[in-house]
Amino acid sequence: MSIGSDIAALFAEVAQEQHKVLAPLSNELGLLDTGLDSLCFAIIVARLEDDLGVDPFSADDEIDFPVTVGDFIRLYEHAAGAAAA
């Protein structure tokens, strides 16, 4: 399983729990257009921290805040890669 597919699965899981209708995901889809709200993203970020051991949003490095689903996945791929290195 790649981080990308894990994140897609997590979006679906949280959307279902929070009774949100998830838009079909693509790398170009804006995060604001996914159908998920800030509480959903708060939960997703917390679960990714538990699963991957990283929270790129709270890291010391300045980050470009992700705009699209692709940005979001790359942010975690980069953070997980940096943590593993």
Binding site: S38, L39, A42, V45, A46, D50, F57
Partner: protein, 461 residues
């Protein structure tokens, strides 16, 4: 006919408790010793004559509660001021406490060499024969320390009159044996101690290091009839098989929000007992008891009732009565009173269906993306699940919303598979709570820490 309890003599606990009579049948006990009140009538637990301690300001610092209880009985009306020091107060705070209280004397069961030049009066659980001069000469100020988890404790001023005002007019209960999970040097424990002493009863004291099962067995063996604790104390007690070893007639809860689940569990465990939950704080004193078995309190309690006035301002309960403390000792500490002389308790209430319900502490709010959440309201929902014994909701830092809520849960010994239980708890939360209040994580843990105050240990952000 039950005799009405007289208002206590103005200046002596000894006079009031001996006035209630039957000293030979009454005792104070802990896990190590038992002292008959009759022994105190012809002896003393103190290593110095009472006349040497007259008019002094004392720090009462003992490890065990029994020596402290005996010393209090002997020193009220004799000392100018007594600071009741619970054992877990850090020794680094004691010099500051003594300065603020102008304490010139330490009454204790250990050497007080570290406390500088103060006079030391040893005390213990033994009573040496003698003829102490118990003639009261002071209206003693009792200083209670509030349980700040960090920083220096606050010194709250009371007198025997403010501490016992709630008991005036209640019937003497000969043969009553009182006990409490609280340390008797805290307000909740002191109330039980004074009820026992003024009401003609005996008292079984707890011990900080004693396992809860051993304490419950001792309570059962001593025939305790009246017992009090916080909801956290009671939840822990109900996890012990020894809860079956006592058969109290009266069960009291105070110090934390009593949710419906704990009231129901206690009624099931002790069907023969009257169960009451009380609202009190060190600063405000006892405000009321609720005995109808329901959580919260009737809206009709607001206004003036039994010499206690209550109002709700900005959601917080405010109380004015003769049971209020006299305020804080020391400079630079904000007064607990508002401009009308009410104590602002900081306990937030909500009116639902003709009753006020406690929802949490003003200082304990979790902010989730601008939405305010009281952890206690979420715990109350989780605790409703029959297989949950105890829970604690805390904030977890979150970069998106600032915080999210997570829950630690202790389950009863017989429970469903944990995954199924988690789903059931979450479903109950989703039914009852706004979505931002639903815990994002539920962690099953073997135990949740209860602080020395008897309250759930909460880490404040």
């Amino acid at each position: 006919m039950p005799q009405a309890l007289p208002r206590p003599e103005p200046q002596s606990l000894w006079r009031s408790l001996s006035g209630a009579g039957r000293l030979a049948q009454r005792s104070l006990s802990d896990e190590h010793a038992r002292v008959s009140l009759a022994a105190l009538a012809r002896g003393s637990s103190l290593g110095r004559p009472l006349d040497e301690l007259r008019g002094r300001s004392l720090l009462l610092s003992t490890r065990d509660q029994l020596p402290a209880a005996l010393a209090l009985i002997e020193l009220d009306g004799i000392a100018r001021r007594i600071v009741l020091c619970p054992p877990e107060v850090a020794s680094t705070h004691l010099p500051g406490v003594m300065r603020t209280a102008e304490a010139d004397t330490v009454v204790g069961d250990r050497s007080a060499a570290e406390l500088g030049g103060a006079l030391f009066a040893p005390c213990g659980a033994g009573v040496a024969p003698g003829a102490p001069n118990r003639e009261p000469s002071e209206t003693t100020e009792w200083i209670l320390l509030t349980s700040g988890t960090t920083g220096a404790p606050k010194l709250v001023r009371h007198t025997l009159a403010t501490l016992t005002d709630a008991m005036a007019g209640t019937a003497l209960g000969y043969g009553a044996v009182w006990s409490t999970f609280y340390d008797m040097r805290r307000y909740g424990g002191l109330q039980i101690f004074l009820r026992a002493m003024l009401g003609g009863g005996s008292m079984v004291l707890s011990s900080a290091l004693e396992p809860v099962g051993d304490f419950l067995a001792r309570v059962g063996a001593r025939g305790v009839t009246h017992i009090s604790g916080t909801p956290s104390h009671w939840r822990r007690a109900l996890m012990s098989a020894a809860a079956d070893e006592m058969a109290p007639r009266y069960v009291r809860l105070s110090g934390e929000i009593a949710d419906q689940a704990i009231l129901d569990h206690l009624r099931e465990q002790y069907p023969q007992a009257d169960t009451a939950h009380a609202f009190a704080s060190t600063e405000a004193g006892v405000a009321f008891d609720v005995g109808d078995g329901l959580c919260g309190f009737p809206a009709s309690y607001l206004g003036r009732r039994d010499d206690v006035e209550m109002r709700v301002v900005d959601g917080s309960l405010r109380i004015r009565s003769g049971r209020n403390s006299l305020g804080y000792l020391g400079d630079g500490v904000p007064s607990p009173f508002d401009e009308d002389g009410f104590v602002d308790t900081g306990d937030i209430v909500e009116l639902r269906g003709g009753r006020y319900h406690f929802v949490g502490r003003r200082g304990g709010i979790i902010n989730i993306g601008g939405q305010k959440v009281h952890p206690e309201e979420i715990e109350a929902v989780i605790n409703r699940h029959p297989e949950v014994r105890m829970s604690r909701v805390t904030a977890r830092k979150n970069p998106i919303t600032g915080a999210i809520v997570v829950a630690d849960v202790v389950v009863t010994s017989e429970h469903a598979p944990l995954d199924a239980l988690r789903d059931q708890i979450l479903a109950a939360c989703r039914d009852a709570l706004a979505r931002y209040k639903v815990p994002t994580t539920i962690r099953f843990v073997p135990a949740i820490e209860v602080a020395a105050s008897g309250k759930l240990a909460r880490v404040r952000a």
